[in-house]
């Protein structure tokens, strides 16, 4: 059963008044408050059990940039991503997203600015219906029922899943679940989207649809992936992470052409 895929472009800031902070976000459903920038400085992170996961990272991403995060398993990609929405806090160093430094005071706004799409959509779809799951974020932001309704509709439309609104997550195919998982974070109107292995488990058609979807998004994208073809097709810039540090940061085509680099860091 092939779902209709719609190309929809969300244009942040188009024809709506600029909003200050997301208290007024319900007035402008398509305008994220932040500028979509990421600035990480001297980031160190050690897990409670002592494992040093991140050993000094520096990173700067401009608003709207599309960046692939490459690296072998255990390199620290997931750990890094969990810093972007404040689930992990640095042991040393700072993390700024959308102009906000990630801290206890800003965490609410950080979570609204950074949408994290997990690898296993089943971890993200924990409500009885698709609608409920997509409404979860806006509901917890304290929006009015009308605003919530609008956000959910727009988010589902953006991923081409409006017709799935009343379905239970269990009954969806993996491709459908991944799309709905994206909708759950789009509904919060973030300026930055972070994906963990989005193409894992998809068949070639699903992958193609994913690429089209990613290309239609205007938010800043940080995507962790093993799928080098996906990186080449969709992301002009790549960052290679290995053993807790950034070992390469530059044009995707150059990095993927550097065979030694790829082999040295478990990418080929």
């Amino acid at each position: 059963m092939k779902e209709q895929h719609e190309h929809l472009h969300t244009h942040p800031g188009a024809a709506v008044p600029h909003s200050h902070g997301h208290d007024h976000a319900h007035d402008a459903p398509l305008a994220p408050a932040g500028d979509g920038t990421i600035a990480i400085s001297h980031l160190h992170f050690r897990y409670p059990d002592g494992t040093e996961a991140l050993r000094g990272m520096d990173l700067a991403v401009a608003g709207g940039e599309k960046v692939a995060l490459l690296g072998p398993n255990g390199a620290g990609k997931s750990t890094l991503m969990l810093h972007l929405n404040g689930i992990h806090r640095p042991t040393h160093g700072t993390v700024h997203v959308a102009g906000l430094q990630v801290s206890n005071e800003t965490i609410g706004r950080v979570r609204a600015e950074v949408g994290l799409v997990f690898q296993d959509p089943d971890d993200q779809l924990f409500s009885p219906t698709v609608w409920d799951d997509v409404a979860f974020g806006p509901t917890h932001m304290g929006l009015t029922p009308g605003a919530i309704h609008d956000r959910v509709e727009i988010a589902l439309a953006a991923v081409g899943a409006l017709d799935l609104a009343q379905r239970a997550p269990i009954r969806l195919s993996i491709g459908q679940r991944k799309r709905v998982a994206l909708a759950t974070v789009l509904a919060m109107n973030p300026s930055i989207l972070v994906f963990d292995e989005p193409s894992a488990g998809l068949d070639p058609r699903g992958r193609r649809e994913l690429i089209e979807l990613l290309q239609s998004l205007t938010q800043t994208l940080i995507v962790s992936t093993h799928d080098l073809e996906l990186a080449r097709a969709t992301f002009p810039r790549s960052i290679v992470v290995d053993r807790g540090v950034i070992v390469a940061d530059g044009s995707t085509s150059e990095i993927l052409a550097n065979r030694e680099l790829l082999i040295a860091h478990g990418l080929a």
């Binding site: 689930i87 979570r111 971890d123 009885p128 409920d132 979860f136 917890h140 269990i170």
Partner: protein, 261 residues
């Protein structure tokens, strides 16, 4: 694209109340009210038909309750009143008590009917909407949220368990020629492998719970957690409840008026 207006899903309170009231009415029928039970079942079968379930299919679903008759068999043979038959079969002195038979049969029929009522409830309202209805009827948040998540992840975890069981079966060979005691290992060994399976499943469940927490936190959840939107209230709820109470009255009156065996 038409999306449902706010208040998606349906208010399942009427369905829940109706089912409970029906089951209570049936439970209150005195032993031997076979005619009243038949009437109650016909009402159920009619409701089932309206929902697209044939009477035979519904009746078959009710058979799930059958095994429990074992509990009631002793009173058939051990009660001393209304002996229908007493005699000896071989060395045993047996008796069949009419009173016991009546109680056992009534219990079985009530169980059979109540299971079908439960089946119809599920046909009428999805499990999550039932939980939401209960939440509306003051079921504590902790229970409602936890139950909702259990329902959501039930199949997922059972699938994982099935896969692990299949893996265990695939490695449970019994080569020919080996003595009986050696097949399958000692009880302790078998318990240990089963325990490892259960333990691994727990660890997987625990990690998944952590990831769900992270996903929920990523979407802004702090403090009290409420999953699932509340559907719009059923405007005809009072009407339906009154209808249900009338039905209960009818069944109970039948229990009183119809002749009993």
């Amino acid at each position: 694209m038409i999306v449902e207006p706010r208040g998606v899903g349906r208010d399942a309170r009427a369905a829940v109340i109706a089912t409970l009231a029906f089951v209570i009415a049936v439970a209150l029928l005195p032993p031997g009210s076979y005619l009243a039970l038949l009437l109650a079942w016909m009402l159920l079968a009619f409701a089932g038909a309206l929902l697209g379930i044939s009477p035979t299919r519904l009746a078959r679903r009710g058979l799930v309750a059958l095994p429990f008759i074992v509990a009631a068999i002793p009173i058939v043979f051990l009660r001393n009143d209304e002996l229908l038959w007493a005699g000896s079969v071989g060395p045993l002195n047996l008796q069949v008590s009419g009173a016991g038979l009546r109680i056992a049969l009534t219990a079985l029929l009530k169980a059979w009917i109540s299971v079908q009522a439960s089946v119809l409830l599920l046909a009428l309202a999805s499990a999550p909407s039932i939980v939401t209805a209960l939440r509306r009827m003051r079921l504590p948040d902790v229970i409602a949220t936890s139950a909702g998540l259990t329902i959501r992840y039930l199949e997922l975890l059972r699938d994982e368990a099935r896969r692990m069981l299949r893996a265990r079966t695939a490695r449970s060979a019994s080569p020919l020629g080996v003595g009986r005691e050696q097949i399958g290992g000692t009880i302790a060994w078998r318990a240990r492998t089963t325990g490892s399976l259960v333990g691994s499943l727990f660890l997987r469940a625990y990690s998944r719970a952590q990831r769900i927490e992270e996903a929920a936190a990523s979407r802004g959840a702090t403090g009290s957690l409420s999953i699932g939107t509340m559907p719009t209230a059923d405007s005809r709820l009072t009407l339906k409840v009154v209808g249900v109470l009338l039905l209960v009255l009818i069944i109970t009156l039948c229990g009183a008026l119809l002749p009993r065996l």
